[in-house]
């Protein structure tokens, strides 16, 4: 008579395994295997469900409150990056640039040829032209960022001065719009080497996110926490300083051919 291994009997106990009918018949006939099986079943019968500690209806909310400030960046599959809004805008902008370059290329040689025919000094597209375009782009971006910072400052001031126990849904909508814009500007600023601008925008986004993700009927404690974080990061100060700096640069004489990279550390 072939006896069954303990492993087979464990699977049998849990209703798994392929030889169920054979094992059942064998257990009726074999005292040794039946004793082993009784021992397994007896042991597992003792291992009963532990009593679960109660968790109330608000438990989900409690968990959320614990993790909301710890949410990490989401991992994004590489192929999805191309379908994100910001990327699509960048791709669109790149396509527009290529198109503009193509159109310009179609007309540029003719004008140049005309200049050569009529004028004494032939001119080739120079590095200065490219630098000028970069500086122009930088100038436009920094002006837009300064406006953005002014708007953000107004919103943050509103949050800092609002009375406790009130509806902040208006500020949240405002913050949501600012957040979208801020991300785009931060990316552009990083692209052109304006690291200090990108850094302040990054700080700003954290506070905007926190405001957006709060409950509209915010509690005094939550509001206080947001304010403390804004204070701790000296965010209002940084926003004001950066806005002033960008305005000064905006009003400064036209930049030289060398692209300017801000190295001033704010905060």
């Amino acid at each position: 008579m072939t006896h069954y291994a303990e492993d087979d009997l464990i699977l049998y106990y849990y209703g798994e395994g392929r030889k169920r009918v054979e094992i059942e018949r064998h257990l009726d006939e074999c005292g040794a295997c039946a004793a082993t099986y009784r021992d397994i079943a007896g042991t597992l019968a003792i291992v009963t469900e532990p009593e679960l500690p109660e968790r109330g209806d608000q438990y989900g909310l409690e968990v959320w409150q614990r993790i909301r400030h710890k949410l990490p960046e989401q991992d994004v599959p590489w192929w999805m990056l191309w379908f994100r809004g910001e990327r699509l805008m960048l791709v669109g902008a790149a396509a527009a640039l290529v198109l503009a370059a193509f159109v310009a290329g179609r007309y540029w040689p003719r004008q140049q040829a005309a200049t050569v025919a009529s004028g004494p000094a032939p001119t080739a597209p120079s590095a200065a032209t490219t630098d000028g375009a970069t500086a122009q782009r930088q100038r436009i971006l920094l002006t837009s960022v300064a406006d953005h910072l002014d708007r953000s400052e107004r919103m943050l001031t509103d949050i800092m001065n609002t009375s406790d126990h009130r509806d902040i849904s208006t500020e949240q909508r405002w913050a949501e719009d600012l957040l979208t814009t801020s991300r785009l500007y931060r990316q552009d600023a990083a692209d052109i080497g304006e690291q200090s601008v990108a850094s302040v925008l990054d700080d700003l986004e954290r506070s905007l996110l926190e405001i957006v993700h709060s409950r509209p009927q915010i509690s005094a404690a939550d509001l206080e926490q947001i304010r403390r974080r804004i204070d701790a990061a000296a965010l209002l100060f940084k926003v004001r300083m950066l806005s002033d700096e960008l305005r000064q640069r905006e009003n400064a004489p036209a930049p030289s051919a060398t692209p300017r990279t801000s190295t001033r550390k704010i905060g």
Partner: protein, 189 residues
């Protein structure tokens, strides 16, 4: 909007980084996540840590979640694996090879060996079972919990814990053998 459509809309928004949508998922699944975490770890504080870590891990990995799959099942896997990770970390911290401490579970000091009347008490049985479960390795405990308490098949256990069927099966076997040995004195008294 049906519940299913709404759930899938919430999930889609959460995958795009919408914190409010993820909050809805957390509120919906927290209790079941805690239940599994508690069964896996057998400890309330550890279970709370697993709940928190599981949701943070889920948020980070949401982009990899396939929308055709079931979010609950996906989250279930994360919780099971977080539990194993936490138990392993705890094991390493305490510098105790609890998976090999089967002997320790059997070697109860004579003075503490309870008499028949005490053994009859369910609290004592529960304590001994808890001790025996605590002596399993993290993987054995996880596989056993999924099989014994959660009623998962060996195949499902393998998929949940990222193991082959054979490895899942042997984890359950080892767990049951260790429990049999550890609880033998209880049954014979």
């Amino acid at each position: 909007m049906t519940d299913a459509t709404e759930a899938s809309a919430v999930l889609a928004r959460a995958r795009q980084g919408d914190g409010e949508a993820f909050r809805a998922l957390v509120e919906r699944h927290s209790r079941s996540v805690f239940r599994l975490a508690y069964r896996m770890t057998g400890n309330e504080q550890d279970a709370e840590d697993v709940v928190q870590e599981s949701f943070l891990r889920a948020y980070r990995q949401l982009g990899r979640f396939e929308s055709r799959a079931n979010f609950g099942t996906w989250l279930y896997r994360i919780v099971a694996n977080c539990s194993v990770d936490l138990m392993r970390a705890k094991q390493a911290r305490h510098d105790q090879a609890r998976g090999e401490s089967l002997d320790a579970a059997n070697e109860m000091p004579a003075a503490q060996t309870p008499g028949p009347e005490r053994l009859a008490e369910s609290a004592e049985i529960e304590r001994r079972v808890r001790q025996a479960l605590g002596a399993l390795s993290p993987l054995e405990r996880a596989a056993f919990t999924l099989r014994h308490y959660e009623g998962r098949s060996i195949d499902e256990i393998g998929k949940t814990l990222g193991l082959g069927t054979s490895a899942a099966k042997h984890s359950v076997f080892r767990a049951v053998k260790k429990l049999r040995m550890a609880l033998q004195p209880l049954r014979s008294e």
